[in-house]
């Protein structure tokens, strides 16, 4: 409960900071926010876009949150997502299968690609005690440059060197039926996959022996070891699952929301995933809500930019500031504690008054 309050306050402070930023640069914050939120949920099609934008964030948020539960900081979700998305795209552009079979293959390829990218840091952590933050950062940039050279070499686009060919319809998560149901939105099958992932991960964390063991490793590595839990195995398994989830995020982004993969950028969703996990306090259901909220900010910014002259980067700024507030949550906690104490004091005082009279 207290964690939820802290998260909500972090969001509130983030939004206030955003308002301040708009005001300082000569924009009207009320107008800005009105169009920002309208742009994310004015009608069913915009809401569909919000959900689609949130889909990769759900995956990367789950990825970071899951690793956190084992005491691991997966800052490499961006690289895992990129590599997973690349594997899925490669499969989609190479194989020639019927749509259902194809989707199974691309999803599997994405999961395995992401898992492979996280396996190396997991192994290095378990075997050599290499800190996973450093190794996953290195893996991010290895993924960046691998995709940078592999895409033009093997999957070059028709017009641009900097992106891959368009995926054929039968290899895309896009579904005409779903799109129409949402009034022409680019929402796709990825969202179902994401909701499924939330349920599965919640089940693993809360209801299985594996989840119990991984959490034990996260709480106290030495106590877990003493209790006979394979700590090293746990670290590797946790990274595999976290990487696979981020890889699925790549599938959702590059074969669902987009229809090809571009070179020269690390997906921002990888780092936004950290924000999602922090706000969600590493709970799977919380990840869902936090991701949809960020999806709303991201998908509404285009509309806001069209209706006002507030630059779209305000959404990114707000999210980044929210992370900072979440990181410094001790400040907010102090505030909450102080408020609670004042309320308790007041109640005591009024109770005393009641007795006196």
């Amino acid at each position: 409960m207290r964690n939820t309050i802290v998260s909500l306050l972090a969001v509130l402070f983030g939004l206030l900071a955003g308002a301040l930023l708009m005001a300082v640069t000569g924009h009207n914050p009320f107008e800005g926010y009105r169009y920002l939120f309208e742009g994310g949920m004015r009608d069913i099609s915009r809401f569909g876009d919000t959900l689609a934008t949130a889909t990769p964030l759900i995956f990367t948020g789950l990825s970071v949150a899951f690793a956190f539960r084992t005491g691991l900081f997966n800052i490499g979700a961006a690289g895992q997502m990129l590599f997973g998305g690349f594997c899925a795209t490669a499969v989609g552009l190479t194989l020639d299968l019927s749509k259902p079979l194809m989707l199974v293959c691309t999803v599997l390829a994405g999961f395995l690609g992401g898992a492979l990218w996280a396996f190396i840091p997991g192994l290095l952590k378990a075997k050599f005690n290499v800190h996973e933050v450093v190794s996953t950062i290195m893996m991010n940039w290895i993924a960046y440059w691998t995709i940078y050279y592999m895409v033009p070499a093997y999957f070059k686009g028709e017009y641009l060197e900097t992106e891959s060919r368009q995926l054929p319809d039968f290899a895309s998560l896009k579904s005409p039926f779903l799109s129409e149901a949402f009034g022409g939105s680019y929402i796709n099958l990825g969202i179902f996959l994401a909701v499924l992932a939330v349920i599965v991960i919640a089940f693993i964390i809360n209801k299985t022996t594996l989840g119990y063991e991984l959490k034990a490793v996260g709480f106290n590595r030495h106590a877990a070891e003493y209790a006979g839990i394979g700590v090293n195995r746990g670290i590797i398994v946790s990274m595999l699952i976290a990487g696979g989830l981020a890889g699925l995020g790549g599938v959702a982004e590059f074969t669902g929301n987009a229809s090809n993969i571009q070179i020269g950028k690390l997906p921002t969703q990888g780092f936004d995933g950290i924000a999602v996990a922090l706000l969600a306090n590493n709970a799977p259901l919380g990840v869902l809500f936090a991701a949809v909220f960020f999806g709303l900010l991201y998908s509404g910014r285009g509309f806001m930019n069209a209706m006002t002259d507030v630059p779209p980067e305000i959404a990114d700024s707000i999210i980044a500031i929210i992370i900072y507030f979440a990181a410094t949550s001790i400040l907010i906690e102090r505030l909450v504690r102080k408020l609670l104490r004042i309320r308790a004091d007041k109640r005591e005082q009024s109770a005393e008054k009641g007795r006196e009279s």
Binding site: L21, T25, G26, F73, I75, I120, L124, F128, N129, V130, H131, V133, V134, S135, I137, M138, M139, N140, W141, I142, Y144, W145, T146, Y148, Y149, M150, L266, F271, I274, A275, L278, P311, E313, I314, D316, S317, I319, A320, I321, I323, Y324, A326, A327, T328, S329, I330, L331
Partner: protein, 317 residues
Amino acid sequence: MWDLIVDIFPYAVIYTIPLLITALGGLFSERSGVVNIGLEGLMVVGAFTGALVIFQLHDAWTNHPIVLWIGLLAAALFGAVFSLLHAFASIHLSANQIISGTAINMIAGALTVFLARNMTGSGNIRIVSGFQPFDVPLLSSIPVVGELLFTKTYATTYVILLILVVCVFVLYKTKFGLRLRACGENPQAAEAAGINVYKIRYMGVLISGAFAGLGGAIMMVTFAGEFTGSVAGLGFLALASLIFGQWRPLGILGATLFFGFASTVANVSQVNPALQVIPPILLKVFPYVVTLIALVLFSKSSQAPKAIGEPFDSAKR
């Protein structure tokens, strides 16, 4: 082969310099015990500030080099100011330093483009003219060394090399350096010896902000020429150099030169067929792979500061 090296070397040096100064900044922060993965963001802030100041002052002093130097100074200053966010979170609030650093990266990337867009519309700031490469008189005619180090070079290169020498001196020969290193190894003992750990760590982070800001701005006034909202991973490459150089100034110099050279060869291999024997992909992933290997090899004997990443709690002994 020699001609090829002579051709590339000046470019490699140009690419190495921003990397070197940023990694040196990271060194101060990490030796004081604060992990700083926000170097990338601090570089972006530096590039933004530098570009903005130079752009604005350009009308006052057209084409005068003083404008560029003022830009660099402003970049260092603002880098330091921005790093206060990280210092405050990780030193005063015992926040997770990785999360705080990530937040720095994200805020820098988003905020600078937001501000730039408010001013220029496109989010990019192009400076009219940056530093011009020149040959150092006399020194450039020294055989071998002259060709490598004193031709097609920038004034900033020597400033940074001078800063490197000063850094070595400060870190190993002054009271401040000793205290800084003590705070990174054993802050409790440092405190018991009467050192104000908080103050020293603030200094460490501020220096890292100033140096990274300077690095971002130097990149902008030498080879980039404009602010685009990102420094393309150079900050993380600096972080890799810091680790590969095992948290020592000369190690960092070696690592940044090594990585700078590899990246440069990859960058120019498209125009120079002789360099295509090594696929550019290998050269580009090389710094990160060797850093991973170094982490494994040094896992038993790592020179990393002992108290790195731990919030300082003076009550904990």
